[in-house]
């Protein structure tokens, strides 16, 4: 890891959907490496683990949070 082949799921970047209603961990190696910076959820990507875990428990509020910080 990271494999560079799309199978290890290590290199992921959290990216918001185009309509902002949802997000997914995209693989930088096969779905990137270039992402639209406005849709990258920077706070989750570089936030500390506990905040991220809390955010995932409530996807709706975390999306709002992601849009603000993005």
């Amino acid at each position: 890891m990271a494999c560079g082949l799309g199978v290890c799921w290590t290199c992921v970047v959290p990216v918001l959907a185009k309509d902002g209603r949802g997000w997914w961990n995209m693989r930088a190696c096969v779905e990137g490496p270039v992402f639209n910076g406005a849709r990258v959820w920077w706070e989750r990507w570089f936030g500390d683990a506990e905040e991220s875990a809390d955010a995932e428990a409530d996807p709706a509020s975390s999306l709002t949070e992601g849009a603000r910080s993005g």
């Binding site: 199978v7 290890c8 290590t10 992921v12 683990a49």
Partner: protein
């Protein structure tokens, strides 16, 4: 390619109590997806088989990054079962599996018995699928009490429910992070598991001494690679002694033919290669070739001549041939 000095090379084919595999070396779950991406690099028809990345009922986003940390002779990962879910698997991977010409085990994961069974009744219909692997031992789940394989009764409930729903063999994938793995194996076999996959990653933790922070986003992760190989050999040995007629796939730090052979001597009928795929996509093929050369050099007729022979009381053991 090396050929034996005399006679034809030994056949590498194995039979896991009704499941015919061309070689005893498969790709382990989580290290090969379902094979579609890797087939651009690897001739999958030369592999013993593929165990898919675990499929969950719905899309699973997985855990925060960083998701991997290298450690001494191994690595930690905390992916958290990220996958697009059953519907996407059936749309994108099932058609590939049906045409791939390689035996496939579908690994199934979930957070409830119902989730496991709902995935099982769908994936059992895919042509080319020879078995189901019940991933009841992934350490990267939100709550440790979600690890069904840490509780014999819960393991039996999941595996029993899956086994009743399909005529395909269900292999229960177990963890070594228990007091007595034989007890969990027994519960699974009694519940209907036709095979066992031993072992999953071991729960570990690495801390960056410069930043004072855990190196994984999820804090803990699953340890794999050569570091865990002796643990796998021990687990296979213990379980194989208790259940010599139950097919076991040995997993844990297999990087060379000798690692695979060691697991088979402990009692594994086949082995799975995980971490090594990441730096050598053809690892399963090369390790199988190495087993063939070993068998030829020892004058053995096939992989089954190795299974369970690594025992102190066996007069035909090491070096006998």
């Amino acid at each position: 390619v090396t050929e034996a000095a005399t006679g034809p090379p030994p056949s590498l084919a194995v039979d896991l109590d009704g499941i015919a595999l061309p070689t005893p070396v498969l790709a382990a779950s989580g290290c090969f997806n379902a094979g579609r991406e890797m087939s651009q690099l690897v001739d999958v028809k030369r592999m013993g088989g593929i165990v898919t990345k675990s499929v969950t009922l719905g899309p699973t986003r997985g855990l925060p990054t960083p998701r991997m940390a290298e450690t001494t002779s191994g690595m930690l990962n905390a992916i958290g079962l990220q996958n697009s879910g059953l519907d996407a698997f059936m749309e994108k991977d099932a058609p590939w599996i049906a045409e791939a010409g390689v035996p496939v085990f579908v690994s199934v994961a979930g957070t409830s018995v119902e989730e496991y069974t709902r995935v099982t009744v769908v994936v059992r219909e895919i042509p080319g699928v020879v078995g189901i692997e019940a991933n009841i031992s992934c350490p990267n789940v939100e709550r440790r009490n979600q690890v069904f394989a840490c509780h014999p009764d819960q393991a039996a409930e999941v595996v029993g429910a899956m086994s009743r729903l399909t005529s395909l063999p269900v292999f229960a994938k177990l963890t070594a992070d228990v007091t007595d793995i034989v007890e969990v194996a027994e519960a699974c076999v009694r519940a209907g598991a036709q095979g066992l996959s031993l072992i999953n990653t071991l729960l570990g933790l690495a801390i960056d001494v410069e930043t004072f922070r855990p190196r994984l986003g999820a804090v803990t992760g699953g340890l794999s690679g050569p570091a865990i190989h002796p643990v796998a050999v021990r687990c296979v040995y213990q379980v194989a002694r208790a259940f010599p007629d139950i097919p076991i796939m040995g997993i844990g730090g297999v990087a060379t033919p000798r690692d695979a052979i060691e697991l088979m001597l402990a009692g594994a009928w086949a082995v799975q290669v995980g971490t090594a795929n990441f730096y050598e996509p053809e690892a399963t093929i090369k390790i199988a070739e190495g087993i063939g050369e070993f068998l030829a050099a020892k004058g053995l007729s096939g992989p089954k001549d190795l299974v369970g022979r690594g025992r102190p009381s066996d007069p035909g053991g090491a070096g006998a041939a």
